[in-house]
């Protein structure tokens, strides 16, 4: 394993919570951003021992909506990271932004702090769909923000899209893809809407106010995205992620390689030295706990050898490269096929996997039912 890690910083503030949102984010508490910043910086100190001399090769500032808080807060956090840890020279530093929450000034600030990648949440091109899922921006605002970002010098931009939205038509989806492609971002994520328990959308479905999109339309949208984006030079390198050559998201690739990372802030997850842990998700309890010099732990678990092997498969098989046989053997001291041959043979016979010289991968057909494929690898 390389000696570098990814660093995630969670910014749990939003102007308004989207109807489908299952992440830890809070609307209307922006005033807490400064004490939150202090807590993050304090947590960094608590984690310093564990991180030690590991180099940081990617930083991802995610949310929530990191772009609605004071750029000085972001700046202070990044400064502190650089002060405490060894951030690699060519580190990928990403911030998530929402259309309408950035301007020339803030984007220039981001550049100045060394942020070199933007991830913009567009989701859909049609304003009526945006409204229906609880977004507070329009596609025109997206275009403005996108153009401003280019002007500010960002040359690595991701656009987040969603498909499988209630009422969404295949025509709308194709239009969304084409409109985005014409702007030429380096990276596009296409997430299939998942209606999670506890979200407002879940309740709307339960109450019969909205109807989830049917599966056939949903799969057609996915296939269309894979084909359309493929033709435009965006390779699908993970279930939901597409990039032009050379622009794959390194921060996320590290997750899929089952690499190590540390997450700071409430609800952030970490994986280091065979331990996975999660921070407590409540904003105030996170702040209070850290202020009291306590570790803001929600849970931690030890990952044994077998579980690590499984997780390596679970994550690696999400990627188009699959799980590299040589790397697997180096990491675990056992041949991949020796450990998982039974599952691989069974799934290959069903056309769900393929197995070449260097790696085992999931076929296109297998990607649609990845969970069922992965279950076969569980110990």
């Amino acid at each position: 394993m390389s000696n570098s890690i990814g660093l995630y910083v969670h910014i749990p503030f939003c102007a308004k919570k989207c109807l489908y949102c299952d992440f830890t984010s809070y609307a209307g508490v922006l005033a807490k951003q400064y004490v939150y910043k202090d807590a993050i910086i304090k947590e960094m100190g608590m984690r310093a021992n564990m991180i030690g001399d590991k180099r940081i090769s990617t930083i991802f500032i995610g949310g929530g909506t990191p772009s609605i808080i004071d750029t000085a807060v972001i700046n202070a956090i990044i400064d502190e990271v650089r002060k405490n840890f060894h951030v690699e020279q060519d580190a990928e530093v990403t911030i998530e932004i929402n259309p309408g929450t950035v301007n020339a000034k803030s984007l220039t600030d981001y550049r100045a702090m060394g942020i070199n990648r933007l991830s913009i949440g567009l989701q859909a091109w049609q304003d009526e769909l945006l409204k229906a899922i609880g977004r507070i921006h329009t596609s025109a605002e997206f275009v403005d923000s996108y153009n401003e970002a280019r002007k500010a010098g960002f040359d690595n931009i991701n656009v987040d899209l969603m498909f499988g939205l209630p009422q969404q038509t295949i025509g709308q989806w194709i239009h969304t893809l084409q409109a985005v492609v014409s702007l030429g971002p380096e990276h596009i994520s296409c997430y299939d809407l998942q209606i999670e328990e506890g979200t407002r959308m879940y309740k709307m479905v339960a109450d019969g106010d909205i109807k989830p999109l049917d599966e056939d339309a949903d799969r057609l949208m996915y296939k269309t995205a894979v084909e359309l984006l493929g033709n435009e030079g965006y390779e699908r390198y993970e279930v939901s992620n597409f990039a032009k050559p050379g622009f794959r998201c390194r921060h996320n690739l590290n997750y899929w390689y089952n690499g190590h990372y540390v997450g700071l802030g409430c609800a952030a997850h970490s994986y280091l030295n065979h331990i996975r842990w999660a921070n407590m998700s409540g904003l105030q309890s996170y702040i209070d706990t850290v202020s009291d010099d306590n570790i803001p732990m929600d849970f931690e678990e030890y990952i044994d050898h077998d579980t690590e092997m499984f997780e390596t498969m679970m994550l690696g098989l999400r990627t188009s490269e699959g799980v590299n046989k040589k790397l697997f053997e180096e990491r675990f001291g056992i041949q991949l096929y020796q450990r998982y041959g039974h599952a691989i043979d069974k799934l290959s016979a069903m056309g769900l996997m393929c197995d070449d010289e260097s790696a085992v991968k999931v076929s296109d057909k297998g990607m649609d039912v990845l969970n069922s494929v992965l279950v076969e690898f569980l110990p």
Partner: protein, 561 residues
């Protein structure tokens, strides 16, 4: 005192029914100033448990017939009264539940007189729940029921009317002492097997087991003698004194024979031995349950179990699941068919899977019952329609009074086990009641209906049906299976077939989407747990060929209309 004291099983208390007869002893100071010792046995009423009733009646001098003041006489009431009459018992009718608003004691009194021919003029009106009228019942018992006959000095004769398994005492026999006495230290002999045991404890039901010094003539109580095996305390056997044996046993019981069979399998094949242990233990308390090992291609190793009827079957399954914590897969019930082969030989078939090829069969006979259905006259039409659909042959109809009718039908038992009771209840808003008695076997045009999944016959899903019904049944089963089998990674054709001929087909389309779009910002644990849960769900399925079947699929055969 606790309510429903004698219905000790959770199932009994929940369903408000009695499955297992329970004995209790009571000292009662009567109005005449004497103290009487009353030995009472509370018995079930349902047709499936007629054997429990008849066993208990053989141990008694009289019977209290409890009729529900809101329901009046039901089919099972008739059946149980006839049993008591066969045993020549003094019958005391009692009208219960008079506290309920819909109670109509006068109507019920008239019914008892007109339908059963019993004198109900003095029948106590009671509410067991409120305690109303109980003393009157006890007084009538004292006055009308004869004291036990028998000689204390004669050689011991004790009738085993039930048994119970206690992990510490071993098999415990419930007995009625007809002659002589029994006490700890005595060596007893089972008259049917000749096996001998040393009595370790005797006692009475108070209603919990309460040890006493001895059980004398006329008394009802229990005997423990370190008996390990249920067969040592065979119900109906006579216990005698090994040192001074009686010359003749008491008349025993008619051996009960199962009417309905089904396969019971552990959901997890590794629990086969646990299932055997559980069945053996249940059998200690339930002599009517029979089982033997069987092997299914679809379900692995399990047991073919015989029951007195559907309720009995349901209760055994439920007890295995609750009291023994077993996770079970059960197959659809079957009756016992008689197959006359072309070479003249005969076989009894309790598992459709074992049906010989049609070329070897001359003809098949199926068990038929005579069913008595008691109903308010408004529903006669609905019931006749139902019986017609179920291949019933009308026998006769008689009016009990202006509003109540008894219909008599000859019906194949095969049709009764197939949802008949539910259908009857739903078509008569729960008012009709059913009782039946096996009449014998009748030739019938029966075929084996096979179900194929992904082109392979699933043995545990085969059923035997009448040819005229095979098409409809095949279609219904295929549809039902389509409903209960979750979609899998490939398309699954479901076919119903008679021999080589496919008579119905459905297709379960392949699973199209089963993938998490997002990886939750490094929350790998959550994703892994989701997959682990998915795997748990899969584990509860049975792998049949390449298809995974949920447990309810095996009952789907029964659950179609």
């Amino acid at each position: 005192m606790q309510a429903q004291l004698l219905d000790t099983m959770e199932i009994e208390r929940e369903r408000g029914i009695t499955i297992k007869a329970q004995a209790v002893r009571l000292a009662y100071k009567a109005k005449d100033g004497n103290i009487y010792q009353l030995n009472l046995i509370d018995t079930p009423g349902h047709v499936d448990f007629t054997y429990e009733v008849s066993r208990s009646l053989a141990a008694c001098e009289g019977a209290v017939l409890v009729v529900d003041a809101t329901q009046g006489i039901e089919a099972q009431t008739l059946a149980n009264v006839y049993l008591a009459m066969e045993h020549d018992l003094e019958i005391i009718p009692v009208i219960n539940k008079i506290d309920l608003p819909s109670a109509d004691p006068n109507m019920v009194r008239r019914e008892i007189e007109e339908v059963l021919g019993l004198d109900a003029a003095g029948a106590p009106l009671i509410s067991a729940k409120m305690g109303t009228g109980i003393e009157e019942v006890l007084e009538q018992i004292v006055q009308r029921i004869p004291p036990p006959a028998g000689e204390e000095s004669a050689p011991l004769k004790a009738l085993i009317f039930d048994s119970y398994y206690d992990p510490y005492k071993g098999a415990v026999a419930y007995v009625r002492v007809k002659d002589g006495y029994i006490q700890p230290g005595m060596t007893i002999k089972m008259m049917s097997s000749g096996m001998m045991f040393d009595v370790t404890e005797v006692g009475v039901f108070a209603p919990r087991l309460q040890p006493t010094e001895r059980l004398s003539v006329g008394e009802v109580g229990y005997v423990a003698a370190s008996m390990k095996d249920v067969r040592d305390t065979r119900v109906g056997d006579t216990i005698t004194d090994a040192a001074r044996p009686a010359d003749k046993p008491l008349p025993g019981y008619k051996k009960v024979t199962p009417m309905v069979y089904c396969g019971i399998y552990p959901a997890d094949g590794a629990h086969y031995e646990d299932l055997r242990d559980a069945l053996e233990k249940l059998q200690l308390n339930d002599a009517a349950l029979v089982f033997e090992p069987e092997n299914s291609a679809a379900l692995g190793f399990g047991f073919r179990c015989g029951f007195l009827g559907l309720l009995h079957m349901e209760i055994v399954q439920e007890r295995l699941e609750r009291e023994y914590d077993m996770d079970l897969v059960t197959t659809a019930p079957s009756v016992i068919y008689r197959i006359i082969k072309s070479d003249g030989s005969e076989m009894m078939l309790d598992n459709p899977t074992n049906m010989p090829p049609t070329t070897e069969i001359d003809h098949i006979e199926e068990p038929v019952v005579e069913a008595q259905i008691m109903t308010p006259s408004d529903y006669v039409g609905a019931i006749m329609e139902l019986c017609q659909e179920r291949r019933g042959v009308f026998k006769d109809m008689s009016y009990l009074d202006e509003k109540r009718v008894v219909l008599r039908y000859e019906l194949p038992l095969n049709e009764i086990i197939f949802n008949f009771f539910d259908a009857l209840k739903s078509r008569t808003r729960g008012y009709a009641s059913l009782d039946y008695e096996l009449k014998g076997y009748k030739e019938s045009d029966l075929v084996k209906l096979d179900i194929l999944l992904n082109g392979e016959v699933v043995d545990a899903l085969s059923t035997i049906v009448h040819r005229d019904k095979a098409y409809a049944r095949g279609r219904a089963i295929a549809e039902k299976l389509k409903e209960v089998i979750p979609r899998q990674l490939f398309e699954i054709p479901i076919q119903a077939a008679i021999g080589q001929k496919i008579i119905a087909r459905e297709t379960i389309s392949a699973l199209r989407k089963d993938v998490l779009a997002k990886c939750y910002g490094g929350d790998v644990t959550r994703k892994r747990k989701l997959l682990e849960k998915q795997k748990e769900g899969k584990k509860r399925m049975r792998q049949v060929g390449s298809v995974e079947l949920p447990q309810e699929a095996f009952m789907a055969v029964l659950k179609v209309d």
